[in-house]
């Protein structure tokens, strides 16, 4: 268990550094690929919520520390996104489909941008120092998210040998019961 937490921690640091110090140099459209957000969506959908929150906190802290922006609050944005995705994957997109995953990814990108804009409004209304975060083209960002989720979905199917993966294990008891009912 500790090893898994360490892996999440290490991945959080690496992905946070990638987004804040490496991909910022890339030309369009590569600079629209937000690796940490894509990974956050994958972790939230395929893994436990606690791990997703830890990943969000670590990645967010790294990005907040490195990026020039003083209004992004990446950590808070990512934690909110974990909650939103968890809720939606349990209540609305609970049919474990690829289209559901892609919809969740798009919602994550839109939520990330929406919260960022709100934070910037609030921060810049309160402080004279305006250093906003760069906003990449949202369509390109969503496209990258779709690609990552599609590949993740395929990998998940390949390596787990399961045709129907769970969208979320956050309500694992309910889903497990459903599985048992289905397969038994």
């Amino acid at each position: 268990m500790i090893l898994r937490w360490l892996v999440i921690l290490l991945l959080g640091v690496c992905f946070g550094l990638w987004d804040s110090t490496v991909s910022i140099w890339f030309p369009f459209p590569l600079n629209c690929f937000v690796l940490s957000l894509s990974a956050l969506v994958v972790v939230t959908i395929f893994s436990r919520r606690e791990w997703a929150i830890l990943f969000a906190v670590i990645t967010g802290f790294v990005a907040d520390a490195m990026l020039p922006s003083n209004a992004g609050f990446v950590t808070i944005r990512y934690i909110v996104i974990v909650f939103v995705l968890s809720f939606l994957s349990e209540r609305i997109f609970a049919n474990r489909s690829l289209s559901g995953m892609l919809a969740l990814g798009s919602i994550a990108v839109l939520a990330n941008r929406g919260i960022l804009v709100i934070f910037e409004w609030i921060k810049f209304a309160m402080s004279p120092l305006r250093i906003p975060e760069a906003h990449p083209t949202i369509i390109a960002e969503i496209m990258w998210m779709m690609i990552v989720l599609f590949v993740s979905y395929l990998l998940f199917l390949t390596f787990t040998k399961r045709f129907l993966p769970l969208i979320s294990r956050s309500s694992d008891r309910l889903l497990t019961r459903t599985h048992r009912d289905v397969y038994v």
Binding site: V13, L17, W18, S20, T21, V22, S23, I24, W25, F26, P27, L30, R48, R49, E50, I53, V57, F61, V62, D64, A65, M66, L67, P68, S69, N70, F73, T75, I76, I79, V80, V82, F83, S86, L129, R130, I131, P132, E133, A134, H135, S170, S171, R173
Partner: protein, 276 residues
């Protein structure tokens, strides 16, 4: 109560998550963000230097088309030549000006010196309207808010606007929030203000009508700001907008420091030359 399937266990992840969000919000509201950021930066800056270097090298290697690469190299060569000649021109003008000045002023200028502090760009945020970078030098290295940062060729990149222990944020000249007192080269008075307009462009505004201004004039820092020395090249005049009825004229200027090619900067620290 916390057994399998009980309401408590079902909501436990939500409770953990909300607690985490609450703690983070508390940290932000209580003003602990800066110390935490500083600690993280102290730990991460050495790694970020390497990853940032890798990123800049990777970005350069994306130009894989041979023709595009040759053109890009040619453009870079010409831009470098233009930059060098502009800097040389300004230096020559400054030297002529010094020679023509009074001895007392010349003595003052020779006594006055600046030291520079090399810094690597570890992160950046560039959009159409805004452009800023994070560098790996901070208050422990002697950097202060308001200091000027120049490129390897001595061209003004921008001003330090935010600072941590180990890092500082520099706002580019072309950022829409950027304001820098400037003048035409070889002029002894402050002529106007360079205001960023985004997308790599700036305007030279509030220039009195009596100031001579023409296309291709070199705009330099005026030296009226406490922490920014004079005669640092900002850019070239591309277009002059002037109406006889207006009290001021404006000019469109093209900052010479290229946003996308800056991975190393020097922060100019005012102080006696002996401290070098």
């Amino acid at each position: 109560m916390s057994g399998e399937g009980s309401p408590m266990s079902r909501f436990r992840p939500w409770i953990y998550g909300l607690a985490m969000l609450f703690v983070v919000l508390l940290i932000v509201i209580a003003g602990f963000v800066k110390p935490i950021r500083n600690i993280l930066r102290t730990i991460l800056v050495p790694i970020a230097r390497q990853t940032s270097y890798v990123g800049s090298v990777l970005a350069r290697s994306f130009h894989i088309d041979p023709d595009a690469r040759a053109s890009a190299e040619r453009i870079a060569e010409l831009e470098a030549r233009l930059q060098t000649q502009t800097v040389d021109y300004v230096r020559l003008q400054a030297l002529e000006e010094e020679n023509a000045s009074l001895l007392a002023q010349a003595k003052f200028l020779s006594d006055r010196g600046y030291r520079t502090l090399g810094a690597r760009v570890i992160s950046r945020s560039i959009s159409l309207r805004h452009a800023s970078i994070t560098i790996d030098r901070g208050s422990v290295d002697g950097v202060e808010i308001g200091y000027a940062a120049v490129s390897e060729n001595g061209l003004l990149v921008g001003k330090v606007v935010n600072i941590g222990n180990r890092t500082a944020v520099i706002r580019f000249v072309s950022d829409v929030e950027s304001r820098i007192a400037a003048t035409v080269v070889n002029s002894n008075v402050v002529s106007g203000v360079v205001e960023g307009r985004g997308n790599g462009v700036a305007h030279f505004t509030l220039v009195p009508q009596e100031v001579e201004l023409a296309v291709n004039d070199v705009i330099v820092t005026a030296g009226s700001e406490e922490k920014i020395p004079r005669n640092i090249v900002i850019g070239l005049v591309n277009d002059v907008e002037s109406k006889p009825t207006d009290p001021f004229k404006n000019a469109v200027i093209e900052p010479l420091a290229l946003l996308h090619h800056i991975d190393i900067v020097s922060v100019i620290i005012p102080g006696p030359a002996e401290q070098l």
